[in-house]
């Protein structure tokens, strides 16, 4: 066994990186959780994140201000989900095919615009600086892992309790869940189901946009073609595994980047196993985790609900 596998610093660095790369997933996953509670599955999450990443990068590049970048990212994500919402909610089109189409569009649009604007040398932008939380960051190991991150990472973790309160403890959250479980009841109560669903889609768009921005301007400081590289689909799996509960979703986002980081680090350090085998680690773990998750009753019930909404039939006589 190589020496570095027995050293503490290896694991601390690994976990720090895992927490940092959980932030983009977390934003998007919480947004998708809210959206799926309202009975809408944003399969175009990948495209929404990508659009957010691109818009955030553009905002940051032209204004040199992180806040403008984040606002642009939220607007970019919301623009995508407004279109998706119109097609799926008002026009009653199939959610899965609309989501894939949104992703195809975003991949093309962001690559085209990026290459059109920056021919030649890729531009660089300022990064978000790490902001150690006073006192807490002085803790021996936990402080290094959790409390020496950028503000964007703290914000991502803050969305979990906020989303939990919103879904389970507010009137809006009640309408949200009812709009997913039994739309007819919401309609009978005199609440606009389509409005609730649009609101959920908008929240999801803003959050997924932030997730993309956390990747492009919060972590990598650059934009490349297809930057999100399948993270949107990973998030969909995480939300399913977390059974639409924000805190379980948080666990999923923390555990899924860790194998990816482990693989990168082992590869860099020259671990004596073929790269391709190491590259399979995250996916093997993900599929193994899916099996007990999807055998559950809640999972089957929820997907049954989704397919009903998916038939292209409007949920309500409007």
């Amino acid at each position: 066994m190589p020496d570095y596998l027995t050293e503490l610093t290896f694991y601390v660095a690994l976990l720090t990186a895992a927490v940092r790369s959980a932030a983009p997933l977390l934003f998007a996953a919480i947004g998708e959780t809210i959206c799926e509670h309202a009975g809408m599955a944003n399969i175009g999450l990948e495209g929404t994140m990508l659009m957010g990443a691109w818009a955030g990068f553009m905002g940051m590049y032209f204004s040199d201000s992180g806040l403008v970048g984040l606002a642009a990212a939220m607007l970019g994500g919301m623009a995508m989900t407004v279109v998706l919402g119109y097609v799926c909610i008002s026009r009653g089109a199939n959610q899965i095919i609309s989501g894939i189409v949104i992703t195809i569009f975003s991949v093309g649009f962001t690559s085209l615009m990026y290459r059109h604007m920056f021919r030649g040398a890729p531009p660089s932008i300022n990064s978000f600086e790490t902001y150690p939380i006073p006192y807490l960051s002085a803790l021996p190991i936990v402080g290094r892992i959790l409390f020496r991150q950028t503000l964007l990472v703290y914000a991502a973790f803050l969305t979990v309790p906020v989303a939990s309160l919103l879904i389970y403890r507010t009137g809006f959250g009640l309408c949200l869940r009812a709009a997913g479980e039994l739309p007819a009841a919401v309609d009978t109560a005199g609440v606009n189901v389509l409005g609730i669903r649009y609101a959920a889609m908008l929240i999801c768009g803003a959050m997924a946009g932030l997730g993309g921005a956390a990747l492009s301007i919060g972590q990598l400081n650059e934009f490349t073609d297809n930057l999100t590289a399948g993270r949107g689909y990973i998030v969909l799996a995480i939300v399913l595994l977390g059974r639409w509960q924000p805190f379980k979703v948080l666990l999923g986002t923390l555990f899924s980047p860790a194998p990816m980081r482990l693989q990168l680090r082992l590869q860099v350090l020259g671990f004596p196993v073929a790269n391709e085998v190491l590259g399979m680690i995250p996916y093997v773990l993900a599929i193994t985790a899916m099996v007990p998750g999807c055998a559950g009753f809640a999972c089957r019930r929820r997907w049954a609900g989704l397919t009903v909404a998916n038939n292209g039939v409007r949920p309500l006589p409007t």
Binding site: R91, N94, S98, V107, G108, F109
Partner: protein
């Protein structure tokens, strides 16, 4: 499989760039009927291959194709249901 056997004669790394997702779109666009799918996948393939040769001959970015493909499909999705609603009213 057909891609491996007929086009490249070789197993390349990353040789299925998003074809799985395009295939889902083709299947649903063809409304799950075999002839419809044949038509839909032929149309999508023509768009993608055309985009690549467009880049080779004129230097226009091949990403344009994805934008056009996305827009066509979005309008198709939004438009198809309008037709169905008219039928219901009549």
């Amino acid at each position: 499989m057909i891609q491996v056997a007929a086009i490249h004669h070789d197993l390349l790394e990353g040789m299925s760039p998003g074809y799985g997702f395009t295939a889902v779109v083709a299947a649903l666009l063809g409304r799950l009927s075999p002839w419809g799918i044949l038509l839909a996948s032929f149309g999508l393939a023509a768009l993608q291959v055309g985009g690549e040769s467009m880049q080779r001959t004129t230097g226009i970015e091949s990403a344009t194709v994805f934008v056009i493909e996305g827009l066509i499909l979005l309008f198709l999705l939004a438009g198809r249901v309008i037709g169905r609603e008219r039928l219901q009213i009549a």
